[in-house]
Protein backbone atom coordinates (compact mmCIF):
# COMPACT_ATOMS: atom_id res chain seq x y z
CA UNK A 1 0.00 0.00 0.00
CA UNK A 2 1.06 3.49 -0.85
CA UNK A 3 2.84 5.28 1.89
CA UNK A 4 5.66 7.75 1.86
CA UNK A 5 8.15 8.38 4.58
CA UNK A 6 6.41 11.59 5.53
CA UNK A 7 3.97 11.37 8.37
CA UNK A 8 0.58 12.99 7.92
CA UNK A 9 1.54 16.27 9.62
CA UNK A 10 4.57 16.69 7.40
CA UNK A 11 2.50 15.85 4.34
CA UNK A 12 -0.16 18.39 5.36
CA UNK A 13 2.55 21.01 5.81
CA UNK A 14 3.96 20.30 2.37
CA UNK A 15 0.52 20.53 0.75
CA UNK A 16 -0.24 23.74 2.62
CA UNK A 17 3.03 25.32 1.51
CA UNK A 18 2.39 24.49 -2.14
CA UNK A 19 -1.16 25.80 -2.25
CA UNK A 20 -0.51 28.88 -0.10
CA UNK A 21 1.89 30.18 -2.68
CA UNK A 22 -0.65 29.82 -5.48
CA UNK A 23 -3.54 31.25 -3.50
CA UNK A 24 -1.59 34.33 -2.34
CA UNK A 25 -0.12 34.99 -5.77
CA UNK A 26 -3.63 34.96 -7.23
CA UNK A 27 -2.93 31.97 -9.45
CA UNK A 28 -6.06 30.45 -7.95
CA UNK A 29 -8.88 32.29 -6.19
CA UNK A 30 -10.20 29.32 -4.24
CA UNK A 31 -8.74 26.10 -2.97
CA UNK A 32 -10.88 23.02 -2.38
CA UNK A 33 -9.40 20.83 0.33
CA UNK A 34 -10.37 19.21 3.61
CA UNK A 35 -10.62 20.39 7.19
CA UNK A 36 -11.57 18.60 10.39
CA UNK A 37 -15.29 18.14 10.93
CA UNK A 38 -17.24 17.89 14.17
CA UNK A 39 -15.76 14.50 14.90
CA UNK A 40 -12.18 13.33 14.80
CA UNK A 41 -13.17 10.63 12.36
CA UNK A 42 -14.65 13.08 9.89
CA UNK A 43 -12.87 15.47 7.56
CA UNK A 44 -15.14 17.77 5.68
CA UNK A 45 -14.59 19.98 2.63
CA UNK A 46 -12.68 23.22 3.08
CA UNK A 47 -13.25 26.19 0.82
CA UNK A 48 -10.11 28.27 1.35
CA UNK A 49 -9.86 31.82 0.08
CA UNK A 50 -7.19 33.17 2.43
CA UNK A 51 -4.05 32.13 4.24
CA UNK A 52 -6.06 32.05 7.44
CA UNK A 53 -8.45 29.53 5.91
CA UNK A 54 -5.53 27.38 4.84
CA UNK A 55 -4.43 26.92 8.43
CA UNK A 56 -7.40 24.60 8.84
CA UNK A 57 -6.32 22.40 5.93
CA UNK A 58 -5.73 18.73 6.80
CA UNK A 59 -4.63 15.61 4.97
CA UNK A 60 -5.42 12.67 7.20
CA UNK A 61 -7.01 9.24 6.96
CA UNK A 62 -10.55 10.59 6.83
CA UNK A 63 -10.44 12.86 3.76
CA UNK A 64 -12.88 10.61 1.93
CA UNK A 65 -15.14 13.32 0.50
CA UNK A 66 -14.84 13.57 -3.27
CA UNK A 67 -14.15 17.26 -3.88
CA UNK A 68 -14.59 17.36 -7.65
CA UNK A 69 -18.35 17.40 -7.22
CA UNK A 70 -18.09 20.99 -5.97
CA UNK A 71 -16.20 22.24 -9.02
CA UNK A 72 -18.99 23.07 -11.49
CA UNK A 73 -20.77 25.16 -8.86
CA UNK A 74 -17.62 26.97 -7.71
CA UNK A 75 -16.44 27.68 -11.24
CA UNK A 76 -19.62 29.64 -11.84
CA UNK A 77 -18.38 32.19 -9.27
CA UNK A 78 -14.62 31.77 -9.15
CA UNK A 79 -12.11 32.60 -11.83
CA UNK A 80 -9.65 29.79 -11.21
CA UNK A 81 -10.03 27.02 -8.67
CA UNK A 82 -7.33 24.84 -7.14
CA UNK A 83 -8.38 21.42 -5.94
CA UNK A 84 -6.72 18.57 -4.06
CA UNK A 85 -7.37 15.32 -5.87
CA UNK A 86 -7.02 11.73 -4.75
CA UNK A 87 -7.53 8.89 -7.22
CA UNK A 88 -11.31 9.06 -7.05
CA UNK A 89 -11.45 12.87 -7.15
CA UNK A 90 -9.29 12.80 -10.27
CA UNK A 91 -11.52 10.27 -11.99
CA UNK A 92 -14.54 12.34 -10.95
CA UNK A 93 -12.82 15.32 -12.55
CA UNK A 94 -12.54 13.35 -15.78
CA UNK A 95 -16.17 12.37 -15.49
CA UNK A 96 -17.26 16.03 -15.21
CA UNK A 97 -14.87 17.07 -17.95
CA UNK A 98 -16.29 14.46 -20.28
CA UNK A 99 -19.82 15.63 -19.44
CA UNK A 100 -18.71 19.15 -20.34
CA UNK A 101 -19.44 20.46 -16.89
CA UNK A 102 -15.98 22.01 -16.47
CA UNK A 103 -13.45 24.20 -18.14
CA UNK A 104 -10.12 22.38 -17.81
CA UNK A 105 -8.12 25.60 -18.12
CA UNK A 106 -9.74 27.11 -15.07
CA UNK A 107 -8.88 24.28 -12.69
CA UNK A 108 -5.53 23.59 -11.08
CA UNK A 109 -5.23 20.02 -9.84
CA UNK A 110 -2.92 19.12 -6.99
CA UNK A 111 -2.47 15.37 -7.02
CA UNK A 112 -2.38 13.39 -3.79
CA UNK A 113 -1.64 9.66 -3.99
CA UNK A 114 -4.18 8.16 -1.63
CA UNK A 115 -3.38 5.51 0.99
CA UNK A 116 -7.10 4.67 1.34
CA UNK A 117 -9.42 6.27 3.86
CA UNK A 118 -10.54 4.72 7.13
CA UNK A 119 -14.04 3.73 8.09
CA UNK A 120 -15.08 4.80 11.56
CA UNK A 121 -17.64 2.04 11.79
CA UNK A 122 -14.89 -0.56 11.51
CA UNK A 123 -12.69 1.29 13.98
CA UNK A 124 -15.51 1.50 16.49
CA UNK A 125 -16.10 -2.23 16.17
CA UNK A 126 -12.45 -2.79 17.08
CA UNK A 127 -12.94 -0.66 20.18
CA UNK A 128 -11.58 2.69 18.97
CA UNK A 129 -13.87 5.42 20.25
CA UNK A 130 -11.47 8.34 20.67
CA UNK A 131 -8.73 9.76 18.48
CA UNK A 132 -6.17 9.15 21.22
CA UNK A 133 -6.82 5.42 21.06
CA UNK A 134 -5.46 5.16 17.56
CA UNK A 135 -2.00 5.79 16.18
CA UNK A 136 -1.00 5.28 12.57
CA UNK A 137 2.42 3.84 12.02
CA UNK A 138 2.96 3.36 8.30
CA UNK A 139 0.92 0.34 7.28
CA UNK A 140 -0.25 -0.42 10.77
CA UNK A 141 -2.71 0.98 13.24
CA UNK A 142 -1.77 0.87 16.89
CA UNK A 143 -4.97 0.59 18.83
CA UNK A 144 -5.25 1.20 22.57
CA UNK A 145 -7.95 -0.91 24.12
CA UNK A 146 -8.82 -1.65 27.71
CA UNK A 147 -6.65 -4.76 27.58
CA UNK A 148 -3.61 -2.97 26.21
CA UNK A 149 -2.12 -2.32 22.81
CA UNK A 150 -3.08 -4.01 19.57
CA UNK A 151 -1.41 -3.70 16.16
CA UNK A 152 -3.63 -4.24 13.14
CA UNK A 153 -2.98 -3.71 9.44
CA UNK A 154 -4.41 -0.45 8.17
CA UNK A 155 -6.13 -2.30 5.30
CA UNK A 156 -8.54 -3.93 7.78
CA UNK A 157 -10.17 -0.57 8.38
CA UNK A 158 -10.53 0.92 4.91
CA UNK A 159 -13.85 2.23 3.64
CA UNK A 160 -15.37 -0.22 1.18
CA UNK A 161 -14.89 2.28 -1.64
CA UNK A 162 -11.17 2.44 -0.80
CA UNK A 163 -10.70 -1.28 -0.30
CA UNK A 164 -12.01 -1.91 -3.81
CA UNK A 165 -10.22 1.03 -5.42
CA UNK A 166 -7.89 0.08 -8.29
CA UNK A 167 -6.54 3.60 -8.85
CA UNK A 168 -5.57 5.30 -5.58
CA UNK A 169 -3.12 7.58 -7.37
CA UNK A 170 -4.66 10.48 -9.28
CA UNK A 171 -4.99 9.80 -13.01
CA UNK A 172 -4.83 13.50 -13.83
CA UNK A 173 -3.06 16.39 -12.10
CA UNK A 174 -1.05 19.51 -12.80
CA UNK A 175 1.27 19.00 -9.89
CA UNK A 176 1.87 15.91 -7.77
CA UNK A 177 2.43 16.96 -4.18
CA UNK A 178 3.34 13.61 -2.62
CA UNK A 179 5.27 10.61 -3.93
CA UNK A 180 3.13 8.06 -5.83
CA UNK A 181 2.19 4.80 -4.12
CA UNK A 182 1.43 1.19 -5.02
CA UNK A 183 -2.12 0.24 -5.97
CA UNK A 184 -3.55 -2.71 -4.02
CA UNK A 185 -6.38 -3.74 -6.33
CA UNK A 186 -6.01 -5.11 -9.84
CA UNK A 187 -8.66 -3.49 -12.11
CA UNK A 188 -9.39 -6.87 -13.73
CA UNK A 189 -10.23 -8.53 -10.43
CA UNK A 190 -12.18 -5.68 -8.88
CA UNK A 191 -15.51 -7.49 -9.19
CA UNK A 192 -14.44 -10.72 -7.55
CA UNK A 193 -16.24 -10.01 -4.30
CA UNK A 194 -19.54 -9.71 -6.20
CA UNK A 195 -19.47 -13.37 -7.18
CA UNK A 196 -19.19 -14.37 -3.55
CA UNK A 197 -22.22 -12.23 -2.81
CA UNK A 198 -24.34 -13.64 -5.63
CA UNK A 199 -27.99 -14.17 -4.72
CA UNK A 200 -29.27 -16.91 -7.02
CA UNK A 201 -33.02 -16.35 -7.32
CA UNK A 202 -35.05 -13.25 -8.24
CA UNK A 203 -37.00 -13.65 -5.00
CA UNK A 204 -33.80 -13.51 -2.93
CA UNK A 205 -32.53 -10.51 -4.82
CA UNK A 206 -35.82 -8.72 -4.46
CA UNK A 207 -36.01 -9.52 -0.77
CA UNK A 208 -32.48 -8.23 -0.26
CA UNK A 209 -32.91 -4.97 -2.13
CA UNK A 210 -36.37 -4.21 -0.88
CA UNK A 211 -35.05 -4.78 2.64
CA UNK A 212 -32.19 -2.36 2.10
CA UNK A 213 -34.10 0.26 0.14
CA UNK A 214 -36.97 0.22 2.60
CA UNK A 215 -34.74 2.39 4.79
CA UNK A 216 -34.24 5.04 2.11
CA UNK A 217 -35.30 8.46 3.39
CA UNK A 218 -35.43 10.04 -0.09
CA UNK A 219 -32.83 12.55 1.07
CA UNK A 220 -31.09 12.16 -2.30
CA UNK A 221 -27.66 12.54 -0.69
CA UNK A 222 -26.47 9.72 -2.99
CA UNK A 223 -27.39 11.84 -5.97
CA UNK A 224 -26.01 15.09 -4.57
CA UNK A 225 -22.53 13.67 -4.02
CA UNK A 226 -22.42 11.75 -7.29
CA UNK A 227 -20.00 13.13 -9.88
CA UNK A 228 -21.95 11.34 -12.61
CA UNK A 229 -25.28 12.96 -11.61
CA UNK A 230 -24.88 16.21 -13.43
CA UNK A 231 -28.33 16.85 -14.90
CA UNK A 232 -29.57 20.37 -14.31
CA UNK A 233 -33.00 18.93 -13.65
CA UNK A 234 -33.16 15.47 -12.14
CA UNK A 235 -36.04 13.16 -13.03
CA UNK A 236 -36.74 12.95 -9.31
CA UNK A 237 -37.83 16.58 -9.23
CA UNK A 238 -39.22 16.84 -12.71
CA UNK A 239 -42.77 18.21 -12.62
CA UNK A 240 -43.88 17.35 -16.12
CA UNK A 241 -43.98 14.42 -16.31
CA UNK A 242 -43.87 13.76 -12.62
CA UNK A 243 -42.02 10.50 -12.11
CA UNK A 244 -41.83 10.48 -8.33
CA UNK A 245 -44.41 11.47 -5.76
CA UNK A 246 -43.70 13.01 -2.39
CA UNK A 247 -44.15 9.76 -0.52
CA UNK A 248 -41.26 7.48 0.27
CA UNK A 249 -43.01 4.21 -0.42
CA UNK A 250 -40.93 1.17 -1.25
CA UNK A 251 -41.93 1.14 -4.92
CA UNK A 252 -40.91 4.76 -5.38
CA UNK A 253 -37.66 4.28 -3.48
CA UNK A 254 -36.80 1.36 -5.69
CA UNK A 255 -37.78 3.24 -8.82
CA UNK A 256 -35.55 6.12 -7.80
CA UNK A 257 -32.55 3.93 -7.07
CA UNK A 258 -32.91 1.73 -10.14
CA UNK A 259 -33.08 4.76 -12.42
CA UNK A 260 -30.31 6.56 -10.53
CA UNK A 261 -28.01 3.59 -11.00
CA UNK A 262 -29.07 3.24 -14.62
CA UNK A 263 -28.29 6.88 -15.35
CA UNK A 264 -24.78 6.19 -14.10
CA UNK A 265 -24.37 3.05 -16.20
CA UNK A 266 -21.08 3.18 -18.06
CA UNK A 267 -20.39 6.57 -16.49
CA UNK A 268 -20.08 5.63 -12.82
CA UNK A 269 -16.47 5.89 -11.67
CA UNK A 270 -17.18 3.53 -8.75
CA UNK A 271 -16.03 6.12 -6.23
CA UNK A 272 -18.63 4.93 -3.74
CA UNK A 273 -19.59 8.38 -2.58
CA UNK A 274 -23.27 7.39 -2.76
CA UNK A 275 -22.71 4.68 -0.19
CA UNK A 276 -20.49 6.82 2.04
CA UNK A 277 -22.99 9.70 2.05
CA UNK A 278 -26.03 7.50 2.73
CA UNK A 279 -27.29 8.32 6.23
CA UNK A 280 -29.03 4.97 6.61
CA UNK A 281 -26.21 2.73 5.38
CA UNK A 282 -27.65 1.32 2.16
CA UNK A 283 -24.94 -0.57 0.21
CA UNK A 284 -25.58 1.48 -2.92
CA UNK A 285 -22.21 0.87 -4.51
CA UNK A 286 -23.01 -2.78 -5.07
CA UNK A 287 -25.76 -2.17 -7.64
CA UNK A 288 -23.58 0.25 -9.60
CA UNK A 289 -20.68 -2.18 -9.55
CA UNK A 290 -22.85 -5.07 -10.68
CA UNK A 291 -23.90 -2.98 -13.63
CA UNK A 292 -20.30 -1.96 -14.39
CA UNK A 293 -19.41 -5.65 -14.37
CA UNK A 294 -22.20 -6.46 -16.83
CA UNK A 295 -21.05 -3.67 -19.11
CA UNK A 296 -17.54 -5.08 -19.12
CA UNK A 297 -18.86 -8.57 -19.85
CA UNK A 298 -21.05 -7.43 -22.72
CA UNK A 299 -19.15 -4.54 -24.26
CA UNK A 300 -15.55 -5.00 -23.21
CA UNK A 301 -13.31 -3.61 -20.47
CA UNK A 302 -14.10 -0.06 -19.54
CA UNK A 303 -13.25 2.03 -16.52
CA UNK A 304 -15.07 5.33 -16.40
CA UNK A 305 -13.06 8.43 -15.63
CA UNK A 306 -9.73 7.01 -16.74
CA UNK A 307 -9.58 8.49 -20.22
CA UNK A 308 -11.82 11.47 -21.03
CA UNK A 309 -11.51 10.68 -24.74
CA UNK A 310 -12.88 7.13 -24.49
CA UNK A 311 -16.66 7.27 -25.11
CA UNK A 312 -18.82 5.81 -22.32
CA UNK A 313 -20.19 2.41 -23.44
CA UNK A 314 -23.82 3.51 -23.47
CA UNK A 315 -23.11 6.49 -25.69
CA UNK A 316 -21.68 4.38 -28.44
CA UNK A 317 -22.32 1.05 -30.17
CA UNK A 318 -20.91 -1.50 -32.57
CA UNK A 319 -23.13 -3.24 -35.14
CA UNK A 320 -21.89 -6.62 -33.92
CA UNK A 321 -22.73 -5.97 -30.26
CA UNK A 322 -24.14 -8.85 -28.23
CA UNK A 323 -27.45 -8.45 -26.43
CA UNK A 324 -28.63 -9.67 -23.05
CA UNK A 325 -31.88 -10.89 -24.64
CA UNK A 326 -32.53 -13.37 -27.48
CA UNK A 327 -32.20 -11.61 -30.81
CA UNK A 328 -33.78 -14.23 -33.03
Amino acid sequence: MAQDNLNRDQATARIRAAVTQDLLSGRISLLLGWQKGLFWWRSRPLFARSQQDLERLVWDSFCAVNLSRYLPEELSIEERVGILVKGCDARAFHRLLQDRMLDRERVLLYGLPCPGMLDYRLLAEAGVKEAEQMLEEGEELVIQTGGGEERRPRTDFLLEKCRLCPHPDPVVYDQLLLPPGEPWMDPASRFQDLEARERPTPAERYAYWSGELQRCLSCYACRQVCPACSCRECFAEQQEPRWLGKGAGLNENMLFHIIRVYHGAGRCIECGECQRACPVGIPLLELSRRLAKDIEELYGPYEAGMDPEAPPPLLTYRPEDPAAFPEK
Partner: protein, 172 residues
Protein backbone atom coordinates in the same frame (compact mmCIF):
# COMPACT_ATOMS: atom_id res chain seq x y z
CA UNK B 1 -54.03 2.80 -28.13
CA UNK B 2 -55.87 6.12 -28.04
CA UNK B 3 -56.70 5.48 -24.41
CA UNK B 4 -53.02 4.95 -23.66
CA UNK B 5 -52.14 8.23 -25.26
CA UNK B 6 -54.80 10.07 -23.33
CA UNK B 7 -53.43 8.72 -20.09
CA UNK B 8 -49.99 10.01 -20.90
CA UNK B 9 -51.11 13.61 -20.80
CA UNK B 10 -52.93 13.25 -17.50
CA UNK B 11 -51.17 13.51 -14.14
CA UNK B 12 -48.36 11.14 -14.77
CA UNK B 13 -45.57 10.56 -17.14
CA UNK B 14 -46.13 7.13 -18.28
CA UNK B 15 -48.15 4.22 -19.26
CA UNK B 16 -51.00 4.65 -16.87
CA UNK B 17 -54.07 4.18 -18.95
CA UNK B 18 -55.06 0.71 -19.90
CA UNK B 19 -52.95 -0.72 -17.12
CA UNK B 20 -55.40 -0.41 -14.27
CA UNK B 21 -57.58 -3.16 -15.64
CA UNK B 22 -55.13 -5.95 -15.10
CA UNK B 23 -56.57 -7.29 -11.91
CA UNK B 24 -60.20 -7.07 -12.91
CA UNK B 25 -60.17 -8.05 -16.57
CA UNK B 26 -60.94 -11.62 -15.71
CA UNK B 27 -63.00 -12.45 -18.80
CA UNK B 28 -66.16 -12.82 -16.77
CA UNK B 29 -65.20 -15.62 -14.39
CA UNK B 30 -62.73 -13.62 -12.29
CA UNK B 31 -59.66 -15.55 -13.44
CA UNK B 32 -56.48 -13.53 -13.40
CA UNK B 33 -55.26 -12.35 -16.77
CA UNK B 34 -51.80 -10.93 -17.25
CA UNK B 35 -51.36 -7.43 -18.56
CA UNK B 36 -48.50 -6.84 -20.94
CA UNK B 37 -47.39 -3.45 -22.14
CA UNK B 38 -45.65 -3.56 -25.49
CA UNK B 39 -43.72 -0.54 -26.71
CA UNK B 40 -43.57 -0.95 -30.47
CA UNK B 41 -41.46 1.06 -32.83
CA UNK B 42 -43.51 2.90 -35.41
CA UNK B 43 -41.48 1.78 -38.40
CA UNK B 44 -41.13 -1.94 -37.87
CA UNK B 45 -42.85 -3.61 -34.96
CA UNK B 46 -46.00 -1.53 -34.99
CA UNK B 47 -46.31 -2.11 -38.71
CA UNK B 48 -45.66 -5.78 -37.97
CA UNK B 49 -48.63 -5.65 -35.62
CA UNK B 50 -50.68 -4.06 -38.39
CA UNK B 51 -49.68 -6.83 -40.73
CA UNK B 52 -50.67 -9.39 -38.14
CA UNK B 53 -54.06 -7.68 -38.06
CA UNK B 54 -54.57 -7.45 -41.81
CA UNK B 55 -53.40 -11.04 -42.15
CA UNK B 56 -56.15 -12.03 -39.68
CA UNK B 57 -53.63 -13.51 -37.27
CA UNK B 58 -54.81 -13.41 -33.71
CA UNK B 59 -52.74 -12.71 -30.64
CA UNK B 60 -53.79 -12.44 -26.98
CA UNK B 61 -55.74 -9.36 -25.95
CA UNK B 62 -53.53 -9.13 -22.85
CA UNK B 63 -51.05 -7.12 -24.83
CA UNK B 64 -51.55 -3.35 -24.93
CA UNK B 65 -49.50 -1.78 -27.66
CA UNK B 66 -47.99 1.66 -27.25
CA UNK B 67 -46.57 3.12 -30.42
CA UNK B 68 -43.24 4.88 -30.08
CA UNK B 69 -41.11 6.54 -32.73
CA UNK B 70 -38.17 4.21 -32.11
CA UNK B 71 -37.18 1.49 -29.65
CA UNK B 72 -34.56 3.91 -28.35
CA UNK B 73 -37.33 6.41 -27.60
CA UNK B 74 -38.42 4.24 -24.69
CA UNK B 75 -37.17 5.59 -21.40
CA UNK B 76 -36.46 3.04 -18.65
CA UNK B 77 -38.78 5.20 -16.57
CA UNK B 78 -41.62 4.17 -18.89
CA UNK B 79 -40.86 0.55 -18.08
CA UNK B 80 -40.73 1.21 -14.35
CA UNK B 81 -43.96 3.17 -14.53
CA UNK B 82 -45.71 0.33 -16.31
CA UNK B 83 -44.70 -2.07 -13.51
CA UNK B 84 -45.72 0.46 -10.87
CA UNK B 85 -49.19 0.71 -12.34
CA UNK B 86 -49.86 -2.96 -12.68
CA UNK B 87 -48.20 -4.34 -15.79
CA UNK B 88 -47.16 -7.97 -15.38
CA UNK B 89 -44.73 -7.82 -18.24
CA UNK B 90 -43.16 -5.19 -20.44
CA UNK B 91 -41.96 -5.74 -23.98
CA UNK B 92 -39.95 -3.41 -26.14
CA UNK B 93 -40.05 -4.21 -29.84
CA UNK B 94 -38.01 -2.52 -32.52
CA UNK B 95 -36.50 -2.94 -35.97
CA UNK B 96 -33.86 -5.58 -36.51
CA UNK B 97 -30.33 -4.26 -35.98
CA UNK B 98 -29.20 -2.58 -39.16
CA UNK B 99 -32.75 -1.71 -40.22
CA UNK B 100 -33.39 1.29 -38.00
CA UNK B 101 -35.33 4.10 -39.65
CA UNK B 102 -32.97 6.47 -37.84
CA UNK B 103 -29.88 4.45 -38.73
CA UNK B 104 -28.61 3.75 -35.23
CA UNK B 105 -31.55 4.01 -32.81
CA UNK B 106 -31.90 0.29 -32.22
CA UNK B 107 -28.15 -0.19 -31.81
CA UNK B 108 -28.32 2.23 -28.91
CA UNK B 109 -31.49 0.56 -27.66
CA UNK B 110 -29.73 -2.81 -27.72
CA UNK B 111 -26.99 -1.62 -25.40
CA UNK B 112 -29.31 0.38 -23.16
CA UNK B 113 -31.93 -2.29 -22.66
CA UNK B 114 -29.42 -5.11 -22.34
CA UNK B 115 -27.96 -3.21 -19.42
CA UNK B 116 -31.35 -2.19 -18.08
CA UNK B 117 -32.58 -5.79 -18.26
CA UNK B 118 -29.56 -6.87 -16.20
CA UNK B 119 -30.21 -4.09 -13.70
CA UNK B 120 -33.83 -5.16 -13.22
CA UNK B 121 -32.61 -8.71 -12.77
CA UNK B 122 -30.13 -7.63 -10.09
CA UNK B 123 -32.89 -5.73 -8.35
CA UNK B 124 -35.03 -8.88 -8.23
CA UNK B 125 -37.35 -8.87 -11.23
CA UNK B 126 -37.93 -12.22 -12.94
CA UNK B 127 -36.02 -11.76 -16.21
CA UNK B 128 -38.99 -13.03 -18.26
CA UNK B 129 -41.05 -10.00 -17.31
CA UNK B 130 -38.95 -7.53 -19.22
CA UNK B 131 -38.23 -8.49 -22.81
CA UNK B 132 -36.81 -6.90 -25.92
CA UNK B 133 -37.50 -8.32 -29.39
CA UNK B 134 -36.79 -7.29 -32.93
CA UNK B 135 -39.83 -7.55 -35.22
CA UNK B 136 -39.82 -6.16 -38.73
CA UNK B 137 -42.81 -4.77 -40.61
CA UNK B 138 -42.99 -7.88 -42.76
CA UNK B 139 -43.08 -10.22 -39.76
CA UNK B 140 -46.76 -10.17 -38.86
CA UNK B 141 -46.55 -13.83 -37.95
CA UNK B 142 -43.56 -13.21 -35.70
CA UNK B 143 -45.40 -10.35 -34.01
CA UNK B 144 -48.31 -12.64 -33.17
CA UNK B 145 -45.91 -15.38 -32.05
CA UNK B 146 -43.91 -13.10 -29.76
CA UNK B 147 -47.07 -11.76 -28.13
CA UNK B 148 -48.45 -15.27 -27.70
CA UNK B 149 -45.20 -16.51 -26.19
CA UNK B 150 -44.82 -13.58 -23.84
CA UNK B 151 -48.41 -13.90 -22.63
CA UNK B 152 -47.93 -17.59 -21.90
CA UNK B 153 -44.67 -16.99 -20.04
CA UNK B 154 -46.23 -14.30 -17.89
CA UNK B 155 -49.33 -16.39 -17.26
CA UNK B 156 -47.09 -19.12 -15.93
CA UNK B 157 -45.25 -16.68 -13.69
CA UNK B 158 -48.38 -15.15 -12.18
CA UNK B 159 -49.10 -11.53 -11.30
CA UNK B 160 -46.17 -9.19 -10.87
CA UNK B 161 -45.68 -7.88 -7.36
CA UNK B 162 -42.45 -5.93 -7.82
CA UNK B 163 -42.62 -2.17 -7.62
CA UNK B 164 -46.39 -2.08 -7.79
CA UNK B 165 -47.72 1.18 -6.43
CA UNK B 166 -50.38 0.12 -3.90
CA UNK B 167 -52.35 3.27 -4.62
CA UNK B 168 -53.04 2.00 -8.11
CA UNK B 169 -54.21 -1.40 -7.09
CA UNK B 170 -57.45 -0.03 -5.69
CA UNK B 171 -58.46 1.62 -8.93
CA UNK B 172 -59.82 -1.17 -11.01
Amino acid sequence: MSEALKGKGADNGGTAAGVGGSRSSGSGNGAWQPLIVAFCCNWCSYAGGDLAGTSRLSYPANVRVIRVTCSSRVNPLHVMRAFQRGADGVLIAGCHPGDCHYTSGNYHARRRFSIFARLLEHAGLEPERFQVRWISSSEGDRFAEVMQEMTETIKALGPNERWVDPRWLKIT
